[in-house]
């Protein structure tokens, strides 16, 4: 019985395995049926698989043995050097091609034969012929007849499969060498294989070695002689044809080495296919491994994935497994539950549409650790169909689009926020992509704000000019021009005509692009609707002006009668004081004091109302000079209080309004002198600290100090902390200081400790 063998060439890499694959067996037998060498698929013919057979008789499967021995007898007594015939395996209904060659080699004076057995399948259509031949082979002892008939049969028989063609054309050649590597005999195929003429000389082996590429055959032979082990290698001839070379030790009857058998088998077709296959597998493997895409195939009938490449695991935070593919249930387990149906529908969709155009779908898988869904994009198309054209499987390339999706979502959110911000702030964006050209772009908010359609607004500054108020046009053009030239930040309030034919205030602003290439300058800015603010601002300014005017007039008009009172109190006292009774003198004293107090109140009120921002005259001032003048003015108070004032060097050039800063110093120094503890002479220190963008001045005294809770309130107008009997004052001085600082974009604050002193700080920008 012949053991069944399944052809399966994929995954087999050695020629020995290949021999088995294609059912090829090679044996070397001498006249006495002793087997000297066997290779390939011999096991199928022998009763005992494990033992290496030594003799044809008694070790082969009986029916094979009978037929094979018959063939052997035939060639032994024939003049022909080669015999080709078929023998048959009745059980498996198989035909085995036999080729026996006489060799020139003898061992123990016995001639050696090489037997090549090719196992093949016979299709059922040949059954009749098969039975006939089988009958002949088993029963007919007429040698000639069998031989001829077999030869004819061999020639006529058609190839049953590709392996048969392959095997029958695949040549086998051998060389016998003695221990000194002299060639004893050589099959004719050898010279055909390697393009060398055989000659009976000791140099032949070296000449022959040159014709073999890949290995030095001489070295290999020596190695086999030394190690006494079989050597199988793949070599090429000078034309690039692949051969499998087997070098085996040849032993005499006593088991002593007596030479080598080198056999060659043409494996070119197989090898080329294998190499191509390897290339494809390599390429595909690399592609799959390196590509960020996950490749998967989906079996439509089973409704499950037949292959999922392993990098899907990486996406989901699992360890990438060694084997390239994942099982269907693993993959399905990591799909975001809500998306399973979605994905199945997708495959149904691809299958039913039956189109070759890929269909895409976005779905999610769940990350192992974070349990968060990750977005994937699947692109599927039909992979395999059956003969009827029905879709069998679908191939999908899947990409991780989680980051893209995240960025997209963030961008959408951001855009939405910006959009909302612009809408809320009633602003529009504009862009001027090329500073030299008139062309501009306005976002649609401008249309919402003005009521004009995008077409009406147009897309250039010139067109926008039509809507700008005549009074603002000139300054708009000139400031825009200087902006593009100087590349500084730009801001301007302009009036734009709306669809209702009303002019509304807008603030147009822009940021200069720092690009050095002016040609490519891109200006992006905003246009904000500020009409109400602007109107309120104007109203406020008018109100402020009115208020100041009112305060001035009120105080002026109050002062006028007060002056009269003061004047005549003076005259009255001068002319009639002596004649007055004591009580009358006292009353007059009260009237006079009240008048003086009212006068000073009115004066302060006026001074406060006059500290407006508009009349500010900012010039470069030497603060040392200002301080000098202040101290001169305060000379009387300094003398009477016995104050010590220490002034360090102050900046010589500060941009400020001289009058106001003078008033500031005067108020602060006067306060320091005024608010002094009893029986203590004031010690006042004036100095400055230079900061990066401003000067920080300080005026430090050793006075009564101010409680922390009053730090802010003391800057309020008419805020007094003391009774007039204790310390004089109207509570206007520090309010004025605070206003002066506001006018100068500075700040004023203090640190203090009760009963030990106060330090006032204020800043002036450089």
């Amino acid at each position: 019985m012949i053991r069944k063998q399944v052809f399966n060439s994929v995954g087999k890499s050695t020629p020995e395995e290949l021999f088995v694959d294609i059912g090829l067996t090679i044996m070397c037998i001498d006249e006495s049926n002793v087997i000297h060498f066997t290779s390939g698929d011999y096991k199928r013919y022998f009763v005992e698989e494990k033992k290496l057979p030594v003799n044809l008789v008694g070790t082969l499967l009986p029916e094979i043995e009978i037929q094979l021995l018959k063939c052997f007898e035939q060639i032994k007594y024939s003049d022909a050097s080669t015999l080709r015939t078929n023998i048959y395996d009745t059980e498996d209904r198989k035909c085995i091609t036999v080729e026996i060659r006489k060799t020139l080699k003898f061992q123990n004076k016995k001639k050696l034969y090489v037997v090549k057995l090719q196992n093949e399948v016979i299709a059922t259509s040949h059954d009749a012929a098969y039975d006939k031949h089988l009958g002949l082979a088993l029963n007919d002892f007429s040698k000639e007849n069998t031989l001829n008939d077999a030869l004819i049969k061999n020639e006529n028989s058609e190839p049953k499969n590709k392996f048969k063609t392959f095997a029958s054309t695949a040549g086998v050649g051998w060389i016998f060498l003695d221990l000194k590597l002299n060639i004893l005999s050589c099959a004719s195929e050898i010279s055909h294989f390697f393009g060398v003429e055989f000659e009976n000389s000791s140099k032949m082996i070296k000449k022959f070695a040159k014709a073999i590429v890949g290995y030095n055959i001489v070295d290999l032979c020596k190695q086999v002689l030394k190690t006494e082990t079989l050597c199988v290698v793949e070599v090429q001839n000078n034309y690039g044809i692949w051969f499998s070379a087997t070098i085996q030790l040849d032993r005499d009857d006593l088991g002593q080495p007596m030479g080598l058998l080198v056999s060659f088998f043409n494996i070119h077709e197989y090898k080329v296919k294998q190499l191509d296959n390897e290339k494809i597998i390599n390429f595909f493997g690399k592609l799959v491994k390196n590509s960020p895409a996950v490749i998967m195939t989906y079996d439509v009938s089973k409704q499950q994935f037949s292959y999922v490449s392993s990098n899907i695991a990486k996406f989901a935070g699992y360890k990438q497994k060694k084997n390239d593919a994942f099982k269907n249930d693993f993959f399905e387990s990591i799909i975001f539950p809500e998306d399973i149906t979605l994905l199945k529908n997708h495959y149904q969709n691809v299958a039913s549409k039956n189109a070759s155009v890929p269909i895409q779908i976005e779905y999610r898988i769940v990350h192992k650790k974070t349990k968060e869904p990750l977005w994937l994009l699947a692109t599927s198309s039909v992979y395999q169909r059956d003969k009827a054209g029905e879709v069998l499987s679908i191939i999908t390339s899947t990409q991780n689009i989680n980051e893209t999706k995240k960025v997209k979502r963030e961008l959408a959110e951001f855009t939405e926020r910006v959009q909302a911000a612009f809408t809320c702030s009633r602003s529009a964006i504009w862009e001027w992509s090329n500073g030299k050209k008139n062309k501009a772009w306005w976002s649609k908010e401008l249309c919402d704000l003005t009521g004009w359609t995008p077409e009406e607004i147009g897309c250039s500054f010139r067109q926008l000019l039509r809507f700008i108020h005549t009074d603002d046009k000139k300054s708009f053009i000139s400031s825009l021009k200087s902006f593009t030239q100087k590349n500084k930040n730009y801001e301007q309030d302009i009036r734009i005509k709306t669809k209702e034919n009303e002019f509304k205030w807008f603030k147009i602003s822009a940021n200069g692009n720092a690009s050095s290439d002016k040609k490519l300058m891109k200006v992006v800015g905003t246009l904000t609707y500020i009409h109400e603010n602007k109107e309120a601002e104007n109203k406020l300014r008018k109100l402020n002006e009115e208020l100041e005017r009112f305060a001035y007039l009120a105080s002026h008009d109050l002062k006028e009668p007060l002056n009269t009172i003061t004047s005549f109190i003076g005259l009255f006292k001068e002319e009639f004081f002596d004649a007055l009774e004591v009580d009358a003198k006292q009353y007059l004293q009260f009237i006079e004091e009240a008048t003086i107090r009212m006068g000073s109140l009115i004066k302060d009120l006026m001074s406060y109302s006059q500290l407006e921002n508009i009349s500010l005259k900012r010039k470069s001032n030497n603060l040392n000079v200002i301080i000098e003048n202040v101290l001169k003015d305060l000379n009387e108070a300094i003398q009477s209080s016995q104050a010590t004032i220490s002034v360090s060097e102050l900046p010589k050039e500060v941009l400020c309004d001289q009058t106001q800063i003078r008033q500031l110093f005067q108020n602060l120094i006067a306060n320091s002198i005024k608010y002094q503890r009893k029986n203590e002479a004031p010690y006042i220190e004036i100095g400055v600290r230079e900061k990066k963008e401003y000067y920080e001045f300080f005026i430090k005294d050793n006075g009564i100090g101010i409680a922390k809770k009053h730090y802010k309130r003391i800057f309020d107008v008419f805020k007094r902390l003391h009774l007039p009997e204790e310390y004089e004052g109207n509570g206007i001085g520090l309010a004025n200081c605070s206003r002066i600082m506001t006018n100068h974009h500075g700040t004023i604050w203090l640190t203090s400790e009760l009963n030990s002193g106060t330090t006032f700080y204020f800043t002036l920008p450089k």
């Binding site: 001035y552 006028e560 002056n563 009269t564 004047s567 005259l571 009349s615 009058t659």
Partner: protein, 139 residues
């Protein structure tokens, strides 16, 4: 003590003029005191002096806030008189106003103005202008 010939008081307030006259009289610095009630009247008076060759005032105490023509408007017109005519007249602004703008305006006209006095007029203010007049003005 040598007295000035004439002092011109320009003020719409009768009380103020009354008081100022009182002060001037106590100081005994002038023979004559003329009282007008706004810039226009002052201008007319000066023009009359110029045309009729009457005695000019040596000192003018000028209020700022007045109806018809205020102090500054008067100064504008006063500038139109010849330098020679103006050369021996001293003008002191005598006003309740200590508004910054008024002060600044006054400073702009400092070549025309001798002094800036806040009401009420005090004896020392009178003495100040009198001393300067007697020391510097030709007679």
């Amino acid at each position: 003590m040598k007295q000035m010939d004439c002092v011109l008081l320009v003020d719409d307030s009768l009380t103020a003029n009354f008081y100022n006259k009182k002060i001037l009289n106590t100081c005994h610095v002038t023979k004559e005191i003329v009282e007008v009630h706004n810039g226009e009247e002052a201008l007319h008076f000066l023009k009359a002096c110029e045309i009729q060759n009457k005695k000019k005032p040596n000192v003018i105490f000028l209020d700022i806030n007045m109806p018809v023509m205020d102090g500054f408007e008067f100064l504008e017109e006063y500038m139109k008189f010849s330098d020679q005519f103006r050369s021996d007249i001293l003008i002191s602004l005598l006003t309740t106003s200590n508004w910054k703008n008024d002060m600044d305006k006054a400073k702009e006209k400092c070549d025309l103005i001798f002094d800036y006095i806040e009401k009420p007029l005090a004896k020392k203010d009178v003495e100040h202008v009198y001393d300067f007049y007697t020391a510097n003005m030709k007679h």
